[in-house]
């Protein structure tokens, strides 16, 4: 009996390893999405796209992919870059770091000259290590951890990955913004945090929030964790309810956030919920009453300008659905930033996939200034992070409403 069960466990563990690691060999086939005459006389520029389009957070990955493709299709329709069509080679990284690295190797074999992706922090970190080694330009639409562009997030003096850029805010920025918002707009004096243990994004926001709270004199009365895949948060939330904090910071992804808010109200947590950009489309995952008054920060303010409205209409026309979350506009902006930089390299007449070409793209990207995107006006700081303000979104009557730029 004992031997059998131990053997069983051994087999199970071995198999789960195979399931995690080996799955990459059967990764969903990439889709080559060149529009128009890719092999026309102008030739083509190959760009890789890594997005998680089939895992639990596929809402993000598909939105980024749609946003990127929307911009590239527009550019190709208008004649491409320097007379060349853009060919996008897209692979699904399934939100898994190992899969992402495998997919990246395939992109290199396919001959891409730059990478857009990944979408999640974990996959992007893994790919950033690879692109840094060969100096290939990379931009992520949505990975928010500082370590994506910093070599050592603990020690800023260790330097940066010059080749990696992002179109979104970084984790500390969001955590700090929400702590400031709690203090200035909500007058909070006590706060609690519930975060996903082992998730770089969640932990990053939590750390920044807690640090800023201490600075602003907000007392953090409870810090609770849960594991990936958990559905029961009541034990942790009961602890939080016992402390009765003014605000509860939940820097997690929308599906979990929905259940956390629902269960929190059930066990008697009355504080205002705060979140990061992972909250986008949370309205579909909890009731309007439970969510009422919750606030999160986002990189995208729907309907805020003519350009944004035009983008929303184009997206609707291309995909037959409304913008699902801020990941689509960020994907659009990431593609815009990358093509803008590639244009510079092309104009110098350099040959794709060479070090000189890479460097020209990276230099052009760093020098970006005043480039109008959908989520803001772009300019990069010395750590390759964009400088722009955050949109505060509030849950009102079951809708996610843009309230202010904070």
């Amino acid at each position: 009996m004992k031997r059998f069960i131990s053997m069983t466990m051994a087999v199970l563990m071995a198999l789960s390893l195979v399931a995690c690691g080996g799955g990459s060999s059967s990764a969903a086939g990439g889709s080559s999405a060149a529009s128009g005459a890719a092999s026309g006389e102008g030739g083509s520029i190959k760009i890789g796209l890594l997005a998680n389009t089939s895992d639990a957070n596929a809402n993000y990955g598909n939105a980024v992919k749609n946003g990127v493709m929307l911009y590239i299709d527009e550019v190709n329709a208008a004649g491409g870059v320097n007379g060349k069509q853009i060919e996008v080679i897209a692979y699904d990284d399934k939100g898994d770091a190992t899969e992402a690295v495998t997919a990246f190797s395939r992109l290199v074999d396919d001959g891409v000259t730059a990478v857009i992706g990944g979408v999640l922090t974990g996959t992007t970190l893994a790919v950033a290590d690879e692109t840094y080694e060969i100096g290939m330009p990379q931009i992520t639409a949505s990975a928010t951890a500082p370590g994506v562009t910093l070599l050592d997030p603990e020690d800023e003096s260790a330097g940066i990955r010059e080749n990696v850029f992002r179109a979104c805010f970084i984790d500390p920025f969001q955590g700090e913004k929400m702590a400031e918002y709690a203090s200035e707009r909500l007058g909070a004096t006590t706060a609690a945090v519930i975060f996903e243990n082992g998730n770089d994004y969640s932990v990053g926001l939590k750390d920044a929030f807690v640090a800023k709270c201490e600075e602003l004199g907000i007392q953090v009365v409870a810090t609770e964790a849960y594991s990936t895949g958990d559905v029961d948060f009541k034990a942790q939330l009961t602890n939080i309810a016992g402390q009765n904090p003014d605000v509860v910071f939940s820097p997690n992804y929308y599906e979990d956030d929905g259940m956390i808010v629902t269960q929190a109200r059930e066990v008697g947590v009355t504080g205002t919920f705060l979140g990061g950009d992972g909250w986008g489309s949370v309205k579909n995952y909890a009731s309007a009453e439970d969510l009422e008054g919750s606030v999160y920060c986002s990189g995208y303010a729907p309907g805020s300008s003519d350009a944004v409205k035009q983008f929303e209409a184009d997206y609707q026309a291309a995909y037959g659905e409304d913008i699902p979350n801020m990941f689509a506009p960020l994907g659009y902006d990431a593609a815009m930033l990358m093509l803008n930089a590639i244009q510079a390299a092309e104009e110098q007449g350099l040959e794709a996939c060479t070090d000189a070409y890479y460097q020209a793209v990276i230099d052009a990207m760093s020098a970006t200034e005043g480039l109008e995107g959908i989520t803001g006006t772009y300019q990069f700081d010395e750590q390759n992070n964009p400088i722009k303000s955050a949109a505060i979104m509030k849950l009102e009557g079951g809708d996610e409403v843009f309230t202010e730029l904070f």
Partner: protein
């Protein structure tokens, strides 16, 4: 909130999640008791049951009560089909082949569901409202919510019914006989195929009920919802003594309470670690579990 009421609330939290683990562990235990197979696809049968309920309620707009009947029926049917297609042909093969097949079936179901329904979670809080709103009991300043009451009561009833079925009915007697000695049971005129199929039916029906209770408490359906649930129920079954019906119940509640109490003392980071540490300790110290029969292996 006082310390006492926090403790009471945490115990209630533990009982609710524990009763779902218990119900799932029952299914594991029954199948193991009969053919010594750890049916790792059990958690995924729950997932299919949950998707069946979701389809009925959201796509076909059936009445919630009709929907849950369909869900239980769908899981039952699936259990029988899996048994006929995947396990029956391997009945005389080494047990390890059977186990690997079970893991294969589990992957097939998870990835199949992802292909058909997509990877994202489906929200079911609205259609499930009929089962989640009802009278609740207030103990001091902590509340025993309606889904919690429903979950605990249904699991206890299921266990009682199962014990009665196994101990007092003819079918139960056949099940026990097959579990004792397949060859001898067959010689006594017991139909092996019918009895084993019936066991799978019963186990899968329990999984279907488990799916509904799960949705009452956590109204989200996703392709991987069954995997962690299945693993923790497996720990519960081993802890209680795999093959034992009351053992599965006890194991489920202990795991649920352990999780809640670990979180209660502020160590929520270690919650899953503690559950799997329990598995290791049980296997090292008392591999037959709390209520299991200890058997000596013949040399």
């Amino acid at each position: 909130m006082s310390l006492l009421s926090t403790i009471v609330s945490q115990v209630i939290n533990g009982l609710q999640s524990g009763s779902i683990y218990a119900l799932v562990a029952l299914g594991y235990s029954m199948v193991y008791g009969i053919i010594l197979l750890l049916n790792f696809a059990h958690g995924d049968i729950i997932m299919v049951g949950a998707y069946a309920a979701w389809m009925c309620m959201v796509n076909f707009h059936l009445h919630p009560v009709a929907s849950i009947l369909v869900a239980v029926l769908a899981s039952t049917l699936l259990g029988v089909i899996i048994e006929k297609v995947a396990y029956t042909p391997l009945r005389s093969a080494p047990r390890l082949s059977l186990l690997i097949t079970a893991i294969g079936v589990s992957f097939l179901l998870e990835n199949g569901a992802q292909l058909i329904f997509g990877a994202g979670a489906k929200d079911m809080s609205e259609p499930m409202a009929l089962f989640t709103t009802g009278p609740s009991i207030t103990l001091g300043s902590s509340t025993l919510s309606f889904p919690a009451i429903l979950t605990i009561v249904v699991s206890l009833i299921a266990m009682a019914a199962l014990t009665f079925l196994v101990q007092k009915t003819k079918l139960g007697k056949a099940m026990r006989a097959v579990s004792e000695d397949m060859g001898a049971a067959q010689l006594m005129g017991i139909s092996l195929n019918a009895t084993i199929s019936f066991t799978f039916m019963l186990g899968s029906a329990l999984a279907g009920i488990g799916a509904i209770l799960y949705l009452c408490a956590y109204p989200q359906v996703s392709p991987t919802m069954g995997s962690m649930l299945g693993l923790k129920a497996f720990v519960a079954a081993v802890l209680g003594g795999i093959g034992s019906i009351p053992g599965a119940m006890v194991g489920g509640f202990v795991i649920g309470l352990a999780e809640a109490l670990v979180s209660a003392v502020g160590l929520s980071v270690w919650k899953d670690g503690v559950v799997f540490a329990i598995l290791i300790v049980v296997l090292l110290v008392k591999p037959s579990g709390l209520l299991g029969r200890s058997t000596t292996e013949k040399v």
